[in-house]
């Protein structure tokens, strides 16, 4: 169907049999019925779990290296986050990178797993993990602080490599 001077024009004429509708219905039926015998995609969840590929965007985590976070509390992730999920409070340390987050909180109820934080981070400090099982019993519990976000770099090697390769 196309549009011309505001008038709808049928560009494809249906054949008599198609206009009769019933044969088409049976065609459709045979398709649906044949689907019934195709292999299923369902994971039998608690016993059988989805193992995401490294391109998967699970919950964001903070990379920990040599016992400290890579994050320098620049606040860019917090600024870019479309859902305002991230709150960063910077402070000063004696280490070479003089800035660090005293408080770093992601509200997992707000997060929409867009991965913008990962993309904007200049330190590759916040990255998307493979974790997708997020259950909370209260709003308060859904706010993840540093203790739940920090993950040693070795555990997220795959994602870090994926990011390097897809730069």
């Amino acid at each position: 169907m196309g549009r011309d001077n505001g008038k709808m024009i049928r560009t494809k004429d249906l054949t008599f049999w198609q206009k009769l509708y019933l044969p088409e219905v049976f065609k459709g039926l045979s398709l649906t019925l044949s689907q019934m015998f195709k292999p299923k995609f369902t994971y039998m969840y608690p016993e059988e779990r989805f193992q995401p590929p490294s391109s998967f965007r699970g919950r964001p985590i903070l990379v920990e290296e040599n016992g400290v976070e890579r994050c320098v509390a620049c606040g860019l992730c917090s600024r870019v986050c479309p859902a305002l999920a991230i709150e960063v409070q910077a402070s000063e340390t004696e280490l070479e990178k003089e800035r660090y987050p005293v408080r770093f909180e992601i509200n997992m109820v707000r997060c929409i797993f867009c991965g913008f934080c990962e993309e904007v981070c200049p330190e590759e400090a916040i990255i998307m993990s493979k974790e997708y099982e997020l259950v909370f019993s209260s709003q308060e519990e859904a706010i993840f602080g540093k203790e739940r976000l920090l993950t040693p770099a070795e555990q997220v090697r795959e994602r870090l490599e994926f990011l390097r390769n897809s730069r």
Binding site: V72, L84, E87, E98, N107, R110, P122, Q139
Partner: protein, 558 residues
């Protein structure tokens, strides 16, 4: 007058001006680091190179005087090339770690890197490393690596603050900014170098690493540190004041502010000793009770005194509106003639730049709106004596810690009733029978009158428990706008305090007098009607820069 052509357009400009000034006066921006309109020209950053016809080389716009018929190009191919080159040189040794730097977001180098630079670095060698975190003085921290040697800080200290303690040592890429041995950058205006510094080399030791500039909301207000009333911005995040920065007003404070004003005039707003909710003394203890109960209890207490047993102490810290309603309250509602205020003057601190000996922001304003004894009434010292001999038994104090003065402290205990409006717990509230929590200058609308007679506006930057940042039109950052109760950052600390004039209106109502004010603007409208020196003024006319009233500066007596 001289006629010059900039980028193909002709302008009439002051013949004595430089190219950069002439361009600026006509809205044309020429990038620059070291030039500053308030400082001498040093011409060392080379960022302001422009092309002048008939001149073989590019000229620095900051140090070239205009001449009649001059043709200037600020965006020609050669100029752009030069700007790129200058930026490249500046960035050779500049650390490229803006995420760590505290200036990011309000950094001239960062902005120019986007506007005038090539966008990548060709420099592969090791950068020169220099000391970081060097305290220059009590309030300023230096990161030498980030310094681009513009010398603005040096010139400011010499020319404006008159404390020449800063200098460069070494040469070439090894230049280091430092103080002379044995000296410190500790003049009363030292923190102005923080804004002057175009990069993150100089930072405030108080504010450092506390917040990103884009996380905060700025509110135009006026400093309450002394009688000058420097124009300033109040920067808040999550309902907390994080820093104060000067706002340019040539009539009052030029572009500067003193360190005392920046550091000491806002901490009490979010302090833990802030009063929240009114309280009444029951059996020697202050008990918190609701506003309505407090007001009605206070009204019935006040009814128990004869007119000449009551006195009022106004406040040079409170706004014109508060003082105006206060004098009406004391004189008309309570019918007392005894009304005065206490001056707070420290002669030694006054200087020729900004700082005034009168440490209160509004003593002239308070006097103008009528804080003075009626004929036959007692002045401050008279009230003190009368309390001492027992003829005055009730005292109503507006926003002033009078008990901090030992002479007052000793007599206040003799009072049968001491009512205080105060934002924080202090010596006076410790003695008071009724304590009414007052909003601070950062939580309400109002006006104050500085020593010149200039009426300037205060605007709320911090919400109290009865105001809402969004609904009441306070400046709001993105965080303020989209917060919800489930966000930790969406639950700011708010104090239960009210502007003094509103408290007074409700006490007056409980005593049977209706004052028809709903907003601070209503009160000011009445002031503009009845106080001759403020005739015809309005909040709108005062605007962000203030209006000079015809009041003659009153000599403040000690």
């Amino acid at each position: 007058m001289a006629t010059i052509t900039i980028n193909g357009t002709e302008f009439q400009v002051d013949a004595k001006s430089t190219i950069i000034e002439a361009a600026r006066a006509n809205g044309i921006h020429i990038p620059h680091f070291c030039w500053h309109p308030k400082l001498s020209v040093s011409g060392n950053c080379r960022m302001c190179l422009v092309e002048v016809e008939q001149m073989p080389k590019l000229l620095i716009a900051c140090a070239t005087q205009v001449a009649d018929g001059m043709v200037v190009k600020t965006k020609s191919e050669r100029v752009i090339q030069a700007q790129k080159a200058v930026m490249e040189f500046l960035l050779i040794n500049h650390p490229l770690d803006c995420p760590i730097c505290d200036e990011a977001g309000e950094c001239k180098l960062q902005e120019y890197a986007y506007q005038y630079s090539v966008g990548y670095s060709r420099f592969e060698e090791d950068k020169v490393h220099k000391p970081k975190r060097v305290p220059l003085g009590p309030n300023v921290m230096l990161d030498v690596e980030r310094c681009i040697m513009c010398s603005r800080c040096i010139r400011f200290s010499e020319e404006i603050a008159k404390q020449p303690v800063l200098t460069f040592t070494q040469r070439g890429t090894h230049v280091v900014l430092t103080t002379f041995p044995g000296s410190e950058l500790d003049n009363p205006y030292s923190m102005n170098v923080i804004e002057l510094c175009p990069v993150g080399a100089l930072t405030s030791r108080d504010f450092r690493f506390k917040a990103r500039v884009w996380e905060m909301a700025a509110t135009e207000s006026v400093c309450n540190g002394c009688a000058r009333g420097c124009n300033m911005n109040i920067w808040t995040r999550n309902n907390e004041i994080l820093r104060l920065t000067p706002r340019q007003n040539e009539e009052v404070n030029s572009s500067w502010m003193c360190d005392y004003g920046r550091l000491e005039t806002f901490k009490h707003v979010n302090a833990s000793e802030r009063l929240s909710g009114p309280s009444v003394r029951v059996d020697r203890e202050l008990r918190s009770i609701g506003w309505e109960e407090t007001v009605s209890e206070l009204a019935s207490e006040l009814r128990g005194f004869r007119k000449n047993e009551i006195a009022g102490i106004g406040s040079a810290y409170a706004t014109n509106e508060d003082n105006f309603v206060f004098q009406r309250f004391i004189k008309e509602v309570l019918g007392s003639k005894h009304l005065d205020l206490l001056p707070h003057v420290i002669e030694q601190v006054e200087d020729d730049l900004l700082i005034k000996a009168d440490r209160t922001p509004n003593s002239l304003g308070a006097r103008n709106v009528g804080i003075e004894p009626s004929s036959g009434g007692l002045s401050a010292s008279g009230i003190r004596n009368a309390i001492n001999d027992g003829s005055i038994r009730a005292l109503y104090v507006l926003e002033d810690d009078i008990a901090a003065d030992p002479e007052w402290h000793s007599v206040l205990q003799k009072l049968r009733l001491l009512v205080v409006h105060s934002a924080v717990q202090n010596a006076t509230t410790a003695l008071a029978h009724v304590v009414l929590p007052a909003s601070t200058y950062a939580e309400k609308h109002g006006t104050i009158t500085n020593f010149q007679g200039r009426v300037q506006r205060l605007q709320p930057a911090v919400a109290t428990s009865e105001t809402d940042r969004r609904m009441d039109g306070l400046a709001a950052s993105r965080w303020d706008k989209f917060s919800s109760k489930n966000d930790r950052w969406g639950r700011p600390v708010k104090f239960d305090a009210r502007p003094s004039w509103r408290i007074l209106v409700s006490v007056a109502a409980a005593l049977g007098t209706r004052m028809k004010y709903n907003t601070a603007e209503d009160v000011f409208g009445e002031i503009a009607n009845v106080v001759p020196v403020y005739r015809g003024m309005s909040f709108a006319r005062i605007g962000s820069k203030g209006v000079l009233s015809k009041s003659s500066p009153v000599p403040v007596k000690t």
